[in-house]
């Protein structure tokens, strides 16, 4: 069977999720590899969520929030960015390639950009092949 990468995406409710909905209402087609999880703000994202996704076998994780300055909750996206930078150092040490974990800003009007982003990430992951960290991440306490 050919490789179909799976992406888990965390989208903030106000900008990114609305943007993804806009891609839908505008019928902009993109790769079907993404699974979207709605959260109220990108500031809500905990490193655990991302690691959990990798552990469950995700080949990539995408985090999308409002553009800087546009956060519905004022600065949740900045907090997300800070944590994200930190986490990225950590995940690289764990053997997760940089391109498997992305943070992007998508506004409520950027349906097209969202579709392009998904396509782009799918392409990258296709060229990278399946994630190898799944087995190495069987960390006990992450299981619910």
């Amino acid at each position: 069977m050919d490789f179909r990468p799976k992406i888990v995406a965390f989208l903030c409710n106000w900008c990114a999720y609305t943007g993804a909905d806009l891609a839908g209402t505008s019928r902009i087609h993109y790769a079907p590899n993404i699974r979207i999880i709605r959260i109220m703000c990108s500031g809500r994202i905990e490193p655990t969520f991302i690691l959990k996704a990798f552990q469950q076998g995700a080949d990539g994780v995408l985090v999308c929030g409002c553009h800087p300055g546009d956060c519905h909750y004022q600065e949740g996206n900045y907090k997300c960015l800070r944590r994200f930078k930190l986490l990225q150092k950590f995940t690289r040490q764990m053997g997760i390639e940089k391109d498997r974990l992305r943070l992007e800003w998508i506004s409520a009007s950027e349906g097209k950009q969202f579709a392009e982003l998904v396509n782009d990430m799918t392409k990258t992951l296709l060229s990278m092949g399946p994630s190898k960290v799944k087995s190495s991440l069987e960390v006990e306490h992450l299981n619910v």
């Binding site: 806009l22 209402t25 505008s26 019928r27 009007s109």
Partner: protein, 606 residues
């Protein structure tokens, strides 16, 4: 504002238009009675040019002048200039624009005199002409269940006040419910509208009256008595479970109103699947039982006892309300009037509304674009069996911006036409699309961006309106002019979509009489003040919302729906409502002016 001591009046009555029914002689007689009016001139008394005016201003020592008439703004700059040259303050050129106080077919002379009297006293008419107040009945009547009516009803219901929403057809939703996607965001009309429709049905403060019509309105602001005809639906709305068994068995067919006649429905039917109320109804015109006395198939299969009563008769009810919001919407332009496009003769020349249904997933073809074809009985309808078009032309401004039909611009056609192009490309990839326009009016928020987006798509958008559509070898042949290229444009296509304009709805005329609110020249209801009160009428407690006031798009209709509700809620909160603006007699105005000029206006009118 101080009271000017010495005022001159210039009557701007050039009489180059037929439309000037004002009795200027009478107004002049009236104006002469004011001691501070020193001189009055008419348009034909001397040649109105800079030199003459400056001379007049200097010779008569004019500090204040009033230019009165229809569109006096046309000459205002000339007066400002003359004043400036004469060394006076141009701000003292006051306009008495009678066209702002137009009340239907004739001018109410008393009102014009009132306007003049106020301006002569250095006051504004709006400040003085504040009607008396009545106590208000907290219930509100909303006429028309389109998006504007829905919005107004919900707005009032949110304030915990009672609303009667009267709708002529069997479902609320209006024209918007028939649309596929809405520009420029392309979200589907039903997706955003149906939650609101459901909310109307669920809100305990809204009494939804579908298939009803207003027959008579009496009373005055704050307490109107309204007689409403409740048409026999012949299906009990309370007990119908909307199962649809009756429709399956019904043998009679008629063109579907909801699909603008492009598909057939049964005699017992639901206007569309998401109709509110989601109940069936019987069309007496096509029902076999009602015509021949035989059939009753629906009654036999209905699982609910006594739900269908074929002998139900129309009846009337009378309700009392304090405010009335008119949101009767528009009717589409009849494209048959423009024979050069062949609508009605050539089956694949469609109106934009028909095409909306064709695009709509809940429409006759499930959202696939097919050519129109004939069914076994000879009706021209849309079915999925017919072929798909490869070339489509869209012609803008059909019936709009045309002195032979409607002079005004219908405001939405450019945008919905662009939307069509986009949706056709989406549904028929590779289709050839031509749009023919005069001026592209993409003025709203996000509209220009949408236009730019369509320009980048594979659509030919041509400046130059195609004028002729003919049938040639079973195809549609178009002839027009590509204005930017300077070429004759001849094209053969499979389908032509006419972007028809918006016209005042049929009931506008009757309602105008019933409610005593004027209509403007174009047939739409006239607002009391173009700029300051676009949703109010000259009658107290009666407001306008949506396209019955003039063509507009969804956001503007929604804003007006809410705006009309604002006044109703305001009056209910206050417990008092202003009477008709036109009901203020001249003597009252004069008395108030006297009082106000003595005691510097202030608090009185607040």
């Amino acid at each position: 504002m101080r009271s000017p001591s010495k005022t001159c009046i210039f009557f701007y009555n050039p009489q180059f238009s037929d439309f000037d029914p004002i009795d200027y002689a009478e107004l002049i007689r009236y104006a002469m009675t004011f001691p501070n009016v020193s001189r009055i001139w008419k348009y034909h008394d001397f040649i109105w040019n800079e030199q003459n005016l400056t001379d007049k201003i200097e010779a008569n020592g004019i500090d204040h002048l009033i230019v009165a008439g229809l569109l006096p703004g046309t000459v205002k700059t000339l007066f400002s200039k003359a004043m400036a040259i004469a060394g006076k303050d141009p701000a003292n050129v006051i306009l008495a624009s009678f066209n702002d106080y137009y009340t239907g077919t004739t001018f109410d002379m008393d009102r014009l005199k009132s306007v003049l009297a106020c301006l002569i006293a250095g006051l504004s008419y709006e400040t003085v002409a504040i009607p008396d107040e009545n106590p208000v009945n907290p219930a509100t009547l909303v006429i028309g269940g389109g998006i504007a009516g829905i919005q107004a009803s919900l707005e009032i219901a949110y304030s915990n006040n009672h609303v009667y929403l009267v709708e002529k057809t069997g479902t609320i939703g209006g024209k918007m419910a028939t649309f596929d996607k809405t520009f420029p965001t392309l979200d589907c009309a039903a997706c955003i509208l149906t939650p609101k429709m459901v909310e109307v049905n669920q809100n305990p403060f809204i009494n939804l009256m579908t298939y009803c019509e207003v027959q008579e309105v009496s009373g005055e602001a704050g307490n109107y008595s309204v007689r409403i005809l409740m048409r026999a639906r012949k299906v009990n709305v309370k007990t119908c479970i909307g199962c649809g068994t009756c429709t399956e068995k019904c043998p009679a067919q008629a063109p579907s109103e909801f699909d603008y006649g492009t598909s057939m429905r049964k005699a017992i039917y639901m206007p569309f699947p998401q109709a509110v109320p989601n109940k069936y109804m019987i069309d007496a015109e096509s029902c076999i039982y009602l015509k021949t006395g035989k059939c009753r198939a629906c009654v036999k299969v209905c699982p609910v006892p006594d739900c269908i009563n074929l002998d139900e008769q129309d009846h009337e009810v009378t309700i009392n309300v304090g405010n009335i919001i008119v949101a009767t919407g528009f009717k589409p332009f009849d494209a048959k009037k423009m024979d050069q496009f062949g609508y009605g003769r050539l089956p694949n020349v469609l109106t934009s509304l028909e095409f909306e249904r064709l695009l709509n997933a809940s429409g006759p073809t499930g959202g696939n674009i097919h050519l129109r074809s004939q069914d076994k009985k000879g009706n021209w309808i849309f079915t999925e069996e017919a072929e798909k078009p490869e070339k489509v032309a869209i012609i803008h401004c059909v019936g709009s911006r045309d002195k032979n039909h409607n002079k005004y611009c219908s405001r939405v056609c450019c945008m919905y036409s662009l939307k069509f192009s986009h949706l056709i490309l989406e549904k028929l990839p590779g289709a050839e699309i031509h749009e023919y326009f005069i001026d592209m009016r993409s003025f709203g928020k996000g509209y220009e961006e949408f236009y730019e987006r369509i320009l980048e798509e594979d659509v030919s958008i041509v400046r130059g309106k195609t004028a002729k559509v003919e049938e040639r070898n079973g195809k549609l042949f178009l002839r027009g002019e590509d204005i930017l290229k300077g070429e004759i444009l001849e094209n053969t296509v499979d389908m032509v979509i006419l972007s028809i304009g918006l016209e005042a709805a049929e009931e506008t005329r009757d309602l105008s009489r019933m409610l005593g609110i004027p209509r403007s020249e174009d047939g739409f209801f006239e607002e009391v003040h173009y700029n300051l009160d676009p949703t109010a009428t000259s009658r107290g407690g009666i407001y306008l919302a949506g396209t019955c006031q003039g063509p507009k798009d969804i956001p503007d209709s929604v804003a007006q729906g809410s705006a009309a509700a604002a006044r109703a809620i305001q009056s209910i909160l206050k417990g008092k409502i202003y009477k008709d603006l036109i009901s203020i007699p001249l003597e009252t105005i004069e008395k108030r002016i006297n009082k106000l000029t003595l005691v510097q206006l202030e608090e009185k009118h607040l």
